[in-house]
Symmetry: C2
Subunit: 106 residues, 2 copies
Amino acid sequence: MGTESDLPAPTEWSGIWEVLGCKWTFHILRLLARGDAQFNQIKQKIEGLPASTLSTRLKSLQEETVVVRTVDESATPPTVSYSLTEKGDELAEIIMQIEKLEQRYS
Amino acid sequence: MGTESDLPAPTEWSGIWEVLGCKWTFHILRLLARGDAQFNQIKQKIEGLPASTLSTRLKSLQEETVVVRTVDESATPPTVSYSLTEKGDELAEIIMQIEKLEQRYS
DNA sequence: CCGTATCCCCTAGGATACTG
DNA sequence: CAGTATCCTAGGGGATACGG
């Protein structure tokens, strides 16, 4: 059928998917999509999410440039907050589509 | 900010995400999006994918009504093939958006 | 308050072998 | 061809404790 050979290099099990597949990522992204938040804010709002997991997840998301960590030095004490990048915003919107898809078919 | 309380019931770590997060799911969906395929077709086209994994993955995808298994009895011998449902089609398209997103930002 | 280090367990999934 | 059964191990992630 001619379409056989051009399966375009499967993007591997690429970075973003690796994180997306992890537990809690989805929830974290949903939360951040509603505005920036601090570490413990996130932790408290997502029941069952251990700090250690949040920590590693946030790190992965930063590596994928989906999330940025911002320190506000002007505050006393300085505050740390996390928010979505532009890429992260777009990703969150796509993810919401999947959620809606599920609802539509349930 | 008033938006705090209405985080709409996180959809749990819901079914479709559980499968999407699994290794190989993404590749399988991509492949099926190009038309239906038989078990060994899929297996052969996706390098490294073990039959056992494909088996379980296909089962999960059917449970999520993303994939249908069809037996063509009229053929000799009867052939089995897998294809995307309508829901599966839509899902595949959403997934492609993520792929494009990555490419755009890489 | 904002995290990281550590330990330990459990399961996803790879290899292999086998059946209808 | 179309799968399933079994076994094994690597690592994800939960609990807990600790550091800046």
